[in-house]
């Protein structure tokens, strides 16, 4: 025992003999390093494709901006006026042989800038509809090309320059309403158009003043319409545009907010304050506003795909076109189907996403099912496309006339 104890070296310090690092450790290290390098590379390529994608988007936008007059006509006008300019009997006036197309070039430019609301007479037939205003969605260049093309095909020809459009735009910059029928155009712009049916404005009702005050300062201290939807009903990001919606649609929605059939926390408390007369008057007020569109694509959606969905739908995904129900150009069908043109993209996409989550809880409503079949990219595409459309025309309550 003692000898054993003596033989132990008290000052011994443990040490580890030098050993080679096992090969698998190197392999793992090399593999990790390679993985890291690859990830870095892939991330930087993602950065590059992001830039490429932006350039591609910019070129599509540019292509839209540099489209020829006839392409613009096919995209913007042919839905109503038809590709051959014959219009629709009793509903849409023809362009071929129209005195408005044949008149001085200022007339067509002014109609494109502000639209028409009210009766007009073309080639012996009377029409009483709405033509949207393109002043806020097309620039001077595009309007010049479009007007030149229309006048070249169905009118006396000649070229309209962007400068001329700019002058015309500046001349009527103060105008906040569409042209009131053919009569106003003929009397103020070009008398050669001939006699036009008279425009009778809707009579004002005492409720309209109440509606004005609810819209601008609110009812009994409550939140006013304008504080969120803007003083001209133009809407803001995530807040819908109200200007030009159908009066009956607005009144119905206000009722739906009140009774909870359209659940909305922000609208419910204010809608509950309103009487039936208020709802109708507010509907009439917002329907009569001809506010220019302030929407533009903002969700990085594919506008061409959006146009395809809106105009043709997608059979493979069982998606009907938007316009098959929401009317040509998405102007809505009163009283149940709202206008979807010129809405803010974030509002449209957000509404579609919310509808998709509703599934089929609401019997008789088909939008939840359709929205549910739209992919996220499609929702953004269609929302961005609808933002490029001219706003639905203001109505000064044709029924009242």
């Amino acid at each position: 025992m003692t000898t054993d104890r003596e033989s132990v070296d008290e000052a011994f310090e443990p040490y580890e003999p030098k050993r080679r690092v096992p090969l698998p450790v190197y392999w793992v290290a090399i593999a990790l390093a390679l993985w890291g390098a690859l990830t870095l590379l892939r991330d930087s390529s993602a950065d590059r494709t992001g830039a490429k994608q932006r350039i591609a988007e910019a070129t599509t936008l540019e292509r839209r901006q540099t489209a020829t007059g006839s392409a613009l006509f096919a995209e913007r006008c042919a839905t109503c006026h038809q590709a051959d300019g014959t219009g629709v009997d009793g509903a849409i006036p023809p362009l071929a042989g129209s005195p408005f197309v044949g008149a001085s070039p200022g007339v067509i430019v002014q109609i494109l800038l502000h639209g028409i609301e009210g009766p007009i007479s073309v080639n012996g037939s009377d029409f009483d509809g709405h033509m949207p205003a393109f002043g806020s969605v097309l620039d001077d260049d595009q309007l010049a090309r479009l007007a030149t093309s229309v006048r070249g095909t169905w009118g006396p020809g000649g070229s309209i320059s962007p400068g001329f459009v700019a002058t015309e735009r500046a001349r009527t910059a103060q105008r906040t309403s569409p042209w009131h029928g053919g009569d106003e155009i003929a009397t103020t712009l070009d008398r050669t158009i001939g006699v036009q049916p008279a425009y009778l404005p809707a009579p004002r009702s005492p409720d309209d003043l109440t509606a004005q005050s609810i819209a601008s300062i609110g009812k009994a201290g409550g939140w006013s319409c304008a504080s969120c939807h803007g003083s001209h009903g133009e809407g803001r990001d995530g807040v819908p545009r109200l200007a030009g919606l159908s009066p009956d649609y607005i009144a119905r929605q206000l009722l739906a907010f009140t009774d909870g059939s359209r659940p909305n926390d922000i609208m419910r408390p204010v809608a509950q304050q309103l009487t039936a007369a208020d709802r109708v008057a507010l509907g009439r007020l917002f329907a009569s506003l001809a506010t220019p569109s302030s929407s533009h694509p903002a969700l990085e959606g594919d506008v061409a795909r959006g146009a395809e969905l809106a105009l043709q739908g997608d059979d493979r995904r069982n998606l009907p076109s938007c316009f098959s129900c929401h009317g040509p150009s998405g102007f809505g069908v009163s009283p149940n189907i709202p206008s979807i043109a010129a809405q803010r993209p974030s509002y449209t996409a957000g509404r579609l996403a919310a509808l998709a989550r509703l599934t089929s809880r609401q019997p008789g409503s088909i939008m939840p099912a359709i929205a549910g079949r739209l992919s996220d990219a499609d929702r953004r595409a269609v929302a961005d496309y609808l933002a490029t459309l001219p706003p639905s025309p203001a109505t000064s309550s044709k029924d009242a006339r």
């Binding site: 993602a46 494709t49 609110g218 807040v239 922000i266 408390p269 969700l299 959606g301 996220d376």
Partner: protein
């Protein structure tokens, strides 16, 4: 520890590397970024509101950084486009937040632009949304018998009113609302801006 010097040097080197990559490089990259063209500096009222926003701890539940469409459906929620470095040019320190117990607020001024709505909501979130879990901030308001001239009276739904009394916003509440309404980054992104392209390689569209 018989070879402490190399160890210390290595540790310092790692720290220096991390500092260069995580602090210096981003600072060089973002520091040169000018304020976005559509962005206005905060007014003194908004700055007071901003200080209140920090001190009330809003940042613990509300982020201020909407994400790109392929990372989160923030744009569809109405929270706005993905933010860019230039959006925060006047925020020092930024209040980006990390939690989303409540909605993102970087564009709340565009989404809920009504000052009177904001006041009602701050006084009692349940007056607007019965299911809201946001704390109420009644101490930013005063309950009075009648409003004096210049007072900002807060509208409340009928079931939340106090009979015979009015609720009036204190200056603090008005400052905070001024700050909230200034949160509006809906202007377009400058082409050259440093921005988040998300995870997409094939593009945001599928």
């Amino acid at each position: 520890m018989n070879r402490s010097l190399p160890l210390v040097i290595l540790a310092m080197a790692i720290l220096a590397f991390a500092t260069v990559m995580l602090v210096v490089a981003p600072k060089v990259q973002i520091g040169r970024e000018p304020a976005a063209a559509g962005l206005k500096p905060y007014t003194t009222e908004q700055l007071r509101g901003r200080a209140l926003y920090s001190s009330l701890g809003c940042v613990y539940c509300h982020s201020q950084q909407p994400r790109a469409p392929d990372q989160a459906p923030d744009a569809e929620r109405g929270w706005g486009r993905a933010s860019i470095a230039a959006d925060y040019a006047y925020d020092s320190p930024h209040l980006m937040g990390t939690m989303r117990t409540g909605p993102d607020l970087l564009n709340v001024g565009a989404r809920l632009p009504s000052a009177s709505w904001q006041l009602t909501h701050l006084y009692q979130p349940r007056a607007v949304s019965a299911w809201s879990i946001m704390p109420a901030y009644p101490f930013l308001f005063e309950v009075k018998d009648r409003a004096s001239p210049g007072d900002r009276v807060v509208w409340l739904p009928e079931d939340r009113r106090i009979p015979g009394k009015v609720v009036v916003a204190k200056p603090e509440a008005r400052d905070l609302v001024a700050y909230l309404l200034s949160l509006d980054r809906t202007y377009p992104v400058p082409r050259s801006a440093i921005r988040d392209d998300g995870y997409s390689r094939g593009g945001a569209t599928q």
